[in-house]
Symmetry: C2
Subunit: 464 residues, 2 copies
C-alpha cells in the first residue's frame, strides 16, 4: 500500500486533505521569506492514537512529517518539505481538564491560546504566555516554539508553564514526559527538551500547563518619544530602577503609521515612538512601580508620558501593539527579526538597527518586547522589488551579527525554523551544534520529524 | 602513563588527593543507605580548563568520573564508584560576576548557595532557590539535582533560574549552553537538560543564574495541629483558597522532638504538628494572604494558630524546620523519601505514610514542603538493627507505590541517584526509559559520566 492508502485506512478519509489546492494553504506559515515545499498529504487527526498512526506510517515509508498548529509561525518551522506529510492539529481543540486546586490545565495541542486563557478565567485562573498571535496561535505551536509574549518580561515563557507533555516520538511510541505535580526530578527534563524543538524531536499530542491565579487589573504607563534610542534609554532606566514591569513594549512610527492606515486610530500624529509599560503589583506597590516607570520615561526625554487611568484607552494602545505586525504585512513581504539582547544593550541595538536600515536603504519598522531586550525589527520591501529583497537579506544578516556582538541571541521567541538556521550556526559553537545533532539522532533515528528545520545544514555549519 | 600520572601532570599534584583515608571522606554523600565504592583518585580542580583535563584523562582511560559538590545530596548521586575519579568542585568557589541591570550572577559551581544569596543581597538582588541545605550545598550540586527548597512553592526550582551553563561534555569539549539574555530559543534547551541530570550528561564548570529584586519582609502564619492529616487538610484548603504562599512547611512531632533534644527549643511541648505559612505579597495584599492562611489553618482544626508579628520568633520556627533533618540524623541512619503528590492528595498521602509506618513497625518522621505536595517522610532505624533496616526498605518502597498511585512522583527535588533508580523504573514507561538511555548515549558515548546513577539497571527496568 502507498503511504496515503495506509493513512486513509488507519484514520479515515475524512481526516485527509488530498486536494492539492487545499493542501497548498497548509504548506507554509507566516514567514513569507522562507521557502516552502509541496506536501504529499495533509492530515488532520483528532486523537493521539491517530497522530501515532500517522507517525508510524511515515516511519514505515521514511516520509518526512511536518507538524503544524495555526501556521502563525514567523521562522518557517511549519513550512512543508517536498513530498512530506503535513500534520495539522487544527481539529485537536479539546480542553480536557482545568483543575483549580492543582492549578493546571490539560489541552489538546490545537487549542487556541486565547481560548485557553478565557476558559481558565472562568475558574479565576490565568495562563500567562501571551504571544501577540494569541487570538490565533495554538498551545501546540506555542510549545513547539517555546513562545514568549508581552507578559513574559515578568512571568516567563511557555516552557515555564509546561508540566507534562504527551508526545509521539520519532520511533512511533506514544509517551508521557514530565509530571502533573508541582515539582519533580524523576529523570531528565525531556518535556523541557521537547518544548522549543519545533517538531524535530516529537509530535506533541497533549499539553498540561501550570496556571496562576488571575491578576488584579494592570496599571498602564504610556510614553511618547522622539527617537527610538531615547525610548531604549527609558527601557534601560526601568531595568536599572529595579522594577519588573508586567509588560514593557515599544512600537515605532512605522508601525503606528501602518496601524493608523488600517484602523485609523490616530496614533502616529502624536508620537514617533510609543513605549507602553505595565504594572500588576497589587495596591500601593503597583502605584509605586507605575510612578517609577513614569519617572524613567520622563528622565529619558519622553515628549509626553502619563499613567493611564482609563482602562479602555490603555487597552487601545495595547491593541495597536498587537495589530502592528498584521498591519505591516499589508504593506509588503515582511522579513521578521527576533533578536534578544541584554537589557543594557537595548539602546545601542536600536541605534544599530537604524544604522543598518540607512546603510542598506531598506525600511525597518520596530516592535519590541523591550523590557526583556527582545526586539522585532521588521524589514519591509516593496512587492516585486528584487533588488530591495537582496538588500533586505543583507540587512537581516547584519542585524544578527550586531545582536551576537552585543551578547545577544538570533532568536528570542520565534524559533529557528528555516530563517534562523544560518544565525544558529553563528551563535552556537561547532561542539554545541554536534550535541544538537547527537540528541536529534538519538530521539529521531530515522530522521522523519520535520527534517531540515532548526539544525544548520552542512554548508551553514561551515560559516564563520 | 597511568591516569593518576596524567592528571597530576596536567593539573598539578596539589589538586590531587591520593591519600586513601582522605579519599574516603569524598566517597559518599548524605544518603546513608546508598552503597558507595572506593575511588581511585580524588581531584579538586580550580578552573574549567582543569576540569576539562580531568574529563579527557578519564576518557582516554575509560575511567568513570563522579562529580561532587558539598556532598549534601540525599540520593547517593555523588557516591563513588569503585576505581572512579571523584571530581570535587570545592575549590571552584569564585563569584565571577553579579550584574544588577541584567539581574544575573555568574558563579563557579563550588559556590555555596547561601554565599551567593548573601552576595546578591548587597546589590538588592535575590537568588530564590533555597534548599534546606543552603548553608552548605553548592550551586553546582543544586544544578545537578535541580534543587528545590522552601520558597519554590511560589518561586520555582533551580532550573527556573539557570540561564547559561558552561559544561565539559562527555566527549571532553568545553561548551557554553543556554544564554545570558532574558529570552532565547536558539536550538534545543540543552542547558535545561543538563540541570537535574546528576552529573550523567556533563560536568558543570560555570553557572549563570537569573536573579530577582529583593523581597519585602515576609509575614509568617504558624499553626499547631493534633494530627498530621489535619495539617494536610489545612494545606489543601490554602491551595483551594487561591493563595500562593511564599512558603508552606510542615514539621511533625518526631522532628520537633529531635530538634528539642538537640537545641532545646521547647517546640514539642505545644504541638504534634506545626504548619508554617508565609506571604511576601506587598502591603495589604500580604495581610490578606496571611489572614486567608490563618482562616484555612483554623478551619482545618488547628489547636492554635496566629500570624506572627515577631520576626525573631518566626525565624526561630523556620530555623527549627531547617534543623529537622540534621537533628534526625543524630538518632540513627535516615532513609529519606522525597515523594511529591498533587496538592489535593496531601492529606491522603500523609495518612498513608502513617499507615505504612504502623504496618511495618518503623519510625517515620515527616518534614514537608507541603504547599507543593513535596513530602519528606524520613524512615529512622536504630543503629545496627538489621531487621528494622529490612522493614524500612519495605516501607520505603510502599511509600513510593502510594505516591505513584496518587498521581505523584518518586522524587520531587532530591534526584534519583542510587536510591530512587528502582522507583524511576516504576514511574517512567519503558519507552521513556529508552529515551533516557538514547540521550545518555548521545551525550556520553563512552559512558564515563557518573555511570550507574539515575538510569535503572537492566534488572530494575524489568520490575513491574
Amino acid at each position: 500500500m502507498t503511504l496515503v492508502d495506509e493513512v486513509r485506512a488507519a484514520i479515515g478519509a475524512e481526516r485527509l486533505i488530498e486536494d492539492q489546492d487545499v493542501q497548498a494553504s497548509y504548506a507554509s506559515d507566516e514567514a513569507e521569506w522562507a521557502p516552502a515545499g509541496k506536501p504529499l498529504l495533509v492530515v488532520r487527526p483528532r486523537t493521539s492514537a491517530e497522530v501515532q498512526e500517522v507517525v508510524r506510517a511515515c516511519l514505515r515509508h521514511r516520509v518526512p512529517l511536518v507538524p503544524r498548529g495555526a501556521g502563525t509561525g514567523l521562522s518557517g518551522g511549519a513550512n512543508a518539505i517536498d513530498g512530506c506529510v503535513v500534520l495539522s492539529t487544527e481539529q485537536m481543540t479539546r480542553i480536557v481538564e482545568i483543575d483549580p486546586v492543582e492549578r493546571l490545565a490539560v489541552v489538546q495541542p490545537g487549542v487556541v491560546n486565547d481560548h485557553l486563557r478565557a476558559a481558565c478565567a472562568e475558574y479565576g485562573l490565568w495562563y500567562p504566555p501571551d504571544p501577540a498571535s494569541a487570538p490565533w496561535s495554538t498551545i501546540g505551536g506555542n510549545v513547539a516554539t517555546n513562545a514568549g509574549g508581552l507578559c513574559c518580561v515578568k512571568y516567563g515563557v511557555t516552557r515555564d508553564y509546561v508540566l507534562e507533555l504527551e508526545v509521539v516520538t520519532g520511533t512511533g511510541e506514544l509517551v508521557r514526559l514530565g509530571r502533573r505535580t508541582a515539582k519533580g526530578v524523576a529523570g531528565y527534563d525531556l518535556a523541557g527538551l521537547i518544548v522549543g524543538s519545533e517538531g524535530t524531536l516529537g509530535v506533541v499530542t497533549e499539553v498540561t500547563v501550570r496556571l496562576r491565579p488571575l491578576r488584579e487589573p494592570e496599571r498602564t504607563v504610556a510614553g511618547y518619544f522622539d527617537s527610538i534610542v531615547a525610548a531604549g534609554e527609558a527601557v534601560r532606566a526601568v531595568g536599572a530602577a529595579g522594577v519588573v514591569p508586567s509588560a514593557l513594549e515599544l512600537v515605532d512610527r512605522h508601525c503606528l503609521a501602518a496601524v493608523d492606515a488600517w484602523k485609523n486610530m490616530g496614533l502616529s500624529v502624536d508620537a514617533n515612538v510609543v513605549l507602553l509599560g505595565r504594572s500588576d503589583a497589587p495596591g500601593p506597590a503597583g502605584d509605586a512601580e507605575a510612578a517609577t516607570m513614569l519617572a524613567c520615561f520622563d528622565g529619558a526625554g519622553a515628549t509626553w508620558a502619563a499613567v493611564s487611568t482609563d482602562a479602555d484607552e490603555a487597552e487601545a494602545l495595547f491593541a495597536a501593539r498587537r495589530l502592528a505586525y498584521p498591519a505591516l504585512e499589508r504593506l509588503g513581504p515582511v522579513l521578521t527579526e527576533d533578536v534578544c539582547v541584554p537589557k543594557a544593550a537595548v539602546p545601542e541595538m536600536l541605534g544599530r538597527i537604524e544604522a543598518v536600515a540607512a546603510r542598506n536603504d531598506v525600511l525597518i519598522a520596530n516592535i519590541a518586547h523591550a523590557g526583556d531586550g527582545n526586539l522585532h525589527p521588521l524589514i519591509i520591501t516593496p512587492v516585486g522589488d528584487a533588488a530591495a529583497r537582496g538588500r533586505a537579506q543583507v540587512a537581516f544578516d547584519q542585524i544578527l551579527s550586531d545582536a551576537l556582538e552585543l551578547g545577544g541571541t538570533v532568536t528570542g521567541e520565534h524559533g529557528v525554523g528555516l530563517l534562523k538556521r544560518g544565525g544558529l550556526s553563528r551563535e552556537l559553537s561547532p561542539a554545541v551544534q554536534a550535541m544538537h545533532r547527537a540528541v536529534k539522532s538519538a530521539l529521531d533515528p530515522a530522521g522523519i520529524l520535520n527534517p531540515g528545520k532548526v539544525l544548520p545544514t552542512a554548508a551553514e555549519a561551515l560559516q564563520p
